[in-house]
C-alpha cells in the first residue's frame, strides 16, 4: 500500500527510480572515446596538408574506417546522454520535452549520416 498521495503519483513527483543505465552508458561511451579521440587527434594532425586525395586515401584504409565508425557512434551516443542531462538541468516543462526529442533525433541523424558517409567512402 503506497504512502504517496494520488496527486503526487499522477504528477510524477519523487524518485524516477531509473537512471543507472544512463549513468553507466555515459561512462562506457566515455571510456571507449578516450583512446579513440587521442588516436583521432594525432592521426588527423599527421595527415599534414589534408588535401582531398590524402584524406580520401586515409579514410579508405580498413582500420581507419572501422575506428571512425565506432568513434561516430560512441560520440553521438555520449553527446546525446550529456546534452540530455544539461537540458534536464536548465529547461523545464513542455520546452524540455520538445528539446529532448529534438536532440535525440539530431544525434541519431548525424550518427547515421556519418556512418553512411564513411561506408560510402570505404566500400
Amino acid at each position: 500500500m503506497s504512502l504517496r498521495t494520488p496527486l503526487s503519483e499522477a504528477k510524477g513527483l519523487g524518485s524516477a527510480k531509473e537512471g543507472a543505465g544512463h549513468w553507466w552508458l555515459q561512462r562506457l561511451t566515455a571510456i571507449a572515446l578516450i583512446p579513440l579521440v587521442i588516436w583521432l587527434a594525432f592521426a588527423v594532425a599527421m595527415l599534414g596538408d589534408a588535401s582531398y586525395e590524402t584524406v580520401l586515401a586515409w579514410l579508405q584504409t580498413p582500420y581507419v574506417a572501422v575506428l571512425l565508425i565506432l568513434l561516430v557512434a560512441a560520440t553521438f551516443y555520449h553527446t546525446q546522454l550529456g546534452l540530455q542531462v544539461i537540458v534536464e538541468d536548465y529547461v523545464h516543462g513542455w520546452l524540455k520535452i520538445a528539446t529532448l526529442i529534438l536532440i535525440n533525433f539530431l544525434c541519431i541523424v548525424f550518427a547515421v549520416a556519418g556512418i553512411v558517409a564513411l561506408l560510402k567512402i570505404f566500400l
Binding site: A41, M46, G48, D49, Y52, L68, A117
Partner: protein, 130 residues
C-alpha cells in the same frame, strides 16, 4: 505552486571561484562546444564521400587564420573535456575525493591539456611543412 519572487543573497558575484568549480562548469561548456565539432566532422565525411568541391570549400575555411584559431581552441576544449572526464571516472570509482587531491588533479588536468594541445598542433605543423 506559489511563484513569488523572493530576494536572493548574492552568490556567484562575490565568492572566490575554487579551481574545481571552474573546471566543472568548463567541462559542461566544452562538452556543448565539442558537439559543434562532432557535427563538423560528420559534415567533412559527407563532403569527402560526395563532393570534393564542398570538401575544398570547408578546408578553405578551416585553413585560414580564423578557422585555424577555432580548430586550436576546439582541440583545447577536446582535451580539457577528455582529461577532466578521466578525473570524473576516478571519482566514480571512489578515488581522489579529498580536497587537496581534487585541487592537484585539477591542476594536472589543465597542464596535460596544454601539453597535448601543443603536441597535436606541433605534429600538425611538422607534418604540413616537412
Amino acid at each position: 505552486m506559489a511563484n513569488l519572487e523572493r530576494p536572493l543573497s548574492p552568490h556567484l558575484g562575490i565568492y572566490k571561484w575554487p579551481l574545481a568549480m571552474a573546471i566543472s562548469i568548463l567541462h559542461r561548456i566544452t562538452g556543448v562546444a565539442l558537439t559543434i565539432g562532432a557535427v563538423l566532422m560528420v559534415a567533412i565525411f559527407i563532403a569527402v564521400a560526395s563532393d570534393p568541391e564542398f570538401y575544398e570549400w570547408i578546408r578553405g575555411y578551416l585553413a585560414n587564420k580564423i578557422g585555424k584559431t577555432f580548430l586550436i581552441l576546439w582541440t583545447f576544449a577536446l582535451f580539457l573535456h577528455l582529461f577532466n572526464g578521466i578525473r570524473h571516472l576516478f571519482w566514480d570509482a571512489g578515488y581522489g575525493f579529498e580536497k587537496s587531491t581534487t585541487t592537484k588533479s585539477g591542476v594536472w588536468v589543465i597542464i596535460v591539456t596544454f601539453i597535448l594541445t601543443i603536441a597535436v598542433w606541433g605534429a600538425a605543423y611538422y607534418c604540413t611543412n616537412v
